[in-house]
C-alpha cells in the first residue's frame, strides 16, 4: 500500500473511531443502571422512540406514493419537484425548524388556519416533534424507495397486468413486495434519522420534558449539568445506531464490493 494513501487512511480511521472509544472508556458503567432508570431519561427515551416511529409511519404513508410518482410519472417540472422534496436532505435542520415555524406556527401560513378551523396547534407540542422529524427524515425514505421503484423490473408488472391485476393490485401484490428490502432499508434509515433529529425539533417544538424533550435534546442539556448522564444517554443512542447498522448490513456494509 502506498504510504501517501495509507497514512491519511489510518488517520481517518483513528479520527472516526476515537470519539466513540472515548465514549465507551468514559462511560459510568457502574452507575449506568441508575442514570438510565431516572424518570426523565426514560421519558425522553420513550418520547424519542414514539416520535421517531410515528414519523416513520407518516413517511411511509406519504413518502412511498411520492417516491412512486417521482420514479414513474412523466410531467413537466418532475426534476425540479424531485430536487425540492429532497432538499431537507441537505438543508441545515435549524433552517428546517424555522421554515416549519413560518408554515405551521400559530400565525404561520398554514398554521393559522389549522388553529382557527380545527383548533390544532403544532409548535411546542409532541405532534410538533413528529412533524419536525418527519420533515427531516422523510426524504431519506423517498430517495431510497424511489431508486428501488426505478430499478424494479417492469416486466413483472406487465405480467401481473396480463393476469388481470388492476394497477393498484399490481402495486400492492407485485411492486411493493419486489422492493421489500429497499423499503426496509429506507424505513430504518428514516427512523434512525428521526431518532437523532435535534435542530429542527428544538426550533419547532422546543424543549419541554415529557412533551418535546427527545433524547438528543436531553443529551445536550445534560452535558451542562450532569456530564455522566450525558455520556450514559449517548451510549443508548450509540447502541441504537449500531443496531441500525447491523440491520442495514446487507445493504450498506457490502456496498463497497458492489457498485
Amino acid at each position: 500500500m502506498p504510504w501517501v494513501l495509507g497514512v491519511p487512511a489510518t488517520l481517518a480511521v483513528l479520527f472516526l473511531l476515537a470519539p466513540l472509544l472515548g465514549l465507551l472508556v468514559r462511560a459510568p458503567w457502574r452507575d449506568l443502571g441508575n442514570v438510565l432508570a431516572e424518570s426523565q431519561v426514560l421519558q425522553a427515551l420513550r418520547l424519542s422512540l414514539v416520535c421517531a416511529s410515528a414519523a416513520t409511519v407518516i413517511s411511509l404513508v406519504l413518502g412511498v406514493p411520492l417516491a412512486w410518482v417521482l420514479a414513474r410519472a412523466r410531467f413537466r417540472g418532475l426534476r425540479l419537484l424531485r430536487a425540492l422534496v429532497t432538499l431537507p436532505l441537505v438543508l441545515p435542520p435549524v433552517v428546517g425548524g424555522v421554515a416549519l415555524l413560518i408554515a405551521f406556527g400559530r400565525r404561520g401560513i398554514v398554521g393559522q388556519h389549522l388553529d382557527a378551523w380545527f383548533g390544532i396547534t403544532l409548535p411546542f407540542t409532541t405532534q410538533g416533534v413528529i412533524v419536525a422529524e418527519t420533515f427531516v427524515a422523510m426524504p431519506f425514505l423517498i430517495v431510497t424507495v424511489e431508486g428501488a421503484f426505478r430499478a424494479a423490473d417492469r416486466g413483472y408488472e406487465e405480467a401481473a397486468a396480463t393476469l388481470g391485476a388492476s394497477r393498484m393490485t399490481v402495486f400492492r401484490r407485485v411492486t411493493l413486495p419486489l422492493i421489500r428490502s429497499s423499503l426496509m432499508a429506507g424505513s430504518v434509515l428514516c427512523w434512525a434519522r428521526a431518532l437523532g433529529e435535534f435542530g429542527a425539533t428544538i426550533t419547532f417544538a422546543g424543549n419541554f420534558p415529557g412533551r418535546t424533550q427527545t433524547m438528543p435534546i436531553a443529551v445536550y442539556l445534560a452535558l451542562e449539568q450532569d456530564p455522566e448522564a450525558a455520556i450514559a444517554l449517548s451510549l443508548v443512542l450509540l447502541a441504537v445506531s449500531v443496531a441500525v447498522l447491523v440491520g442495514l448490513r446487507d445493504r450498506w456494509l457490502r456496498a463497497g464490493s458492489a457498485p
Binding site: Y156, E158, A161, L163, G164, S166, R167, R173, P177
Partner: protein, 364 residues
C-alpha cells in the same frame, strides 16, 4: 374457472399497423378458435410487438384487434391489459420471484377478487393438470428452465383466457429440455379451446407447434400458409434458409420451358404453362447431384459448373456450399465427399432433374 366461456370459442382478428420510432409493423391476421398460428420471423421483425399489441401492453397506431365481438383495440377503444381475456406466456416467463409456484398460478384468481383459500384450491387443479403438483411450494429461482416454462403456462391458463399468446416459448431452454417441453406444449395447446398465437424464430418449433404459419420480415407479412406449404415453397430467402432450401428468383417466359434466373443461368422446369412471369424456384439440397466431370444424360436435367466454397458436416451428411451461376447448397454423404475428393476450391458440375425443381409464382 374450469368452465368454458364464450370468449374461448371465438376467433381473433388483428388488422392494422403499429409504429415505434422508425419501426413499422403491418398485420392482417385471423386465428380461429382451437387453431395455433405460428408467427415466424427474424429478430426485429415485429413478432413481439404484435404479441404486446394483442395483450394490451402496446396500442395499435391504426386498425383494430377483436376477439369475437369483443373489441380489444380500435380507434375508439383501448382495453387495458388487465381487462383483456388474453393469456401471455413471456419469453423470460416472468414468474413472480416473491411468490411460490402455487401463488404464482393463483395470482389471476386473487387479482379477480377470489380469497386466498379458494384461489389456491383452483391453482392446485391447474398444477395437477400440468403435472406440477410436486413443485407447488417452490420459489421460481428453485425451478429448472423447463419447469418454469410449465409454471408460466399454468399461470396463464389459470386466468381462463379466451386467447393464448406465447413469446418464444422454448428459446430459454437447452436443446434437450426443449424437445420434451415441445411435445408437452403441443399436447396442452391442443386442449386449449381458443385461438393460440406462438411467436418464434425457430422454424422447427413453428412447424411442430403451429397449424398455420405467418412469416414476418421487417414488420411485414411475407408468407402465410400451412407449415408444409411454407417448408416446400418458401416465399423469401429468409424462409428458404430456415427450412434449408435453395431458392432462386427468376422469370418464366411464355412458350418456353426454362426459367431465366436472376442469379445467372437457366433452369429447365416441368411444363407449367399457367405460371409465367416472375417466379420462385425451390430446389432441395439433397436433389442436387455433384460430378467431377460434365455429366451426359438423356433425361431433362439442369447442369452447370461451380466451385466448392465450403463444406460443413451436419449430423450424418455434408452440406456443401457451391459458388456458380446460380450458387447452391448441396447435401452429400460423407462417403460421396471422399469419393469425389471434394475440398474448398474443387471445380465441380452440378445437376438437378427438371422434375425436382419446384416453380411457383413470386407473390408480390
Amino acid at each position: 374457472m374450469t368452465g368454458t366461456r364464450n370468449a374461448s370459442s371465438t376467433a381473433l382478428s388483428v388488422i392494422g399497423s403499429l409504429d415505434r420510432g422508425t419501426f413499422h409493423l403491418e398485420v392482417d391476421v385471423r386465428v380461429e378458435p382451437g387453431e395455433v398460428l405460428g408467427v415466424l420471423g427474424p429478430n426485429g421483425a415485429g413478432k413481439t410487438s404484435l404479441l404486446r399489441a394483442i395483450a394490451g401492453l402496446t396500442a395499435l397506431t391504426t386498425g383494430s384487434i377483436r376477439l369475437g365481438d369483443l373489441v380489444l383495440d380500435d380507434a375508439d377503444t383501448f382495453l387495458p391489459p388487465e381487462r383483456r381475456p388474453v393469456g401471455l406466456v413471456f419469453q423470460d416467463y416472468r414468474l413472480f420471484p416473491h411468490l411460490t409456484v402455487l401463488d404464482n398460478v393463483a395470482f389471476a384468481a386473487r387479482s379477480h377478487g377470489l380469497r386466498r383459500h379458494p384461489s389456491r384450491t383452483q391453482a392446485r387443479t391447474w398444477l395437477d393438470r400440468l403435472d406440477l403438483s410436486a413443485l407447488a411450494g417452490r420459489r421460481p429461482d428453485q425451478l429448472s428452465g423447463g419447469q418454469a416454462q410449465r409454471v408460466a403456462l399454468a399461470r396463464a391458463l389459470a386466468a381462463d383466457p379466451g386467447l393464448l399468446l406465447l413469446d418464444e416459448p422454448l428459446s430459454a431452454l437447452d436443446a434437450r429440455t426443449r424437445l420434451d417441453v415441445r411435445t408437452e406444449l403441443r399436447h396442452h395447446l391442443g386442449q386449449f379451446a381458443g385461438p393460440v398465437l406462438i411467436v418464434t424464430h425457430d422454424p422447427l418449433e413453428a412447424m411442430v407447434l403451429a397449424d398455420r404459419l405467418l412469416v414476418l420480415e421487417e414488420g411485414h407479412p411475407v408468407q402465410h400458409g400451412s407449415p408444409a406449404e411454407v417448408a416446400r415453397r418458401p416465399a423469401t430467402q429468409y424462409v428458404a434458409k430456415l427450412v434449408g432450401l435453395n431458392l432462386y428468383t427468376g422469370t418464366l417466359e411464355p412458350g418456353r420451358s426454362g426459367v431465366t434466373l436472376d442469379a445467372g443461368g437457366t433452369f429447365t422446369v416441368p411444363a407449367q404453362p399457367a405460371q409465367t412471369g416472375r417466379v420462385l424456384v425451390a430446389v432441395r439440397p439433397s436433389t442436387v447431384a455433384v460430378h467431377t466431370e460434365r455429366p451426359e444424360h438423356a433425361s431433362p436435367r439442369n447442369v452447370w459448373p461451380g466451385t466448392v466454397s465450403s463444406l460443413e458436416l451436419l449430423a450424418d451428411r455434408v452440406r456443401a456450399q457451391i459458388d456458380g451461376r446460380p450458387a447452391a447448397l448441396v447435401d452429400l454423404t460423407p462417403a460421396a465427399v471422399a469419393d469425389l475428393e471434394l475440398r474448398p476450391g474443387s471445380e465441380v458440375w452440378l445437376s438437378v432433374k427438371a422434375t425436382e425443381v419446384d416453380v411457383y409464382p413470386d407473390a408480390p
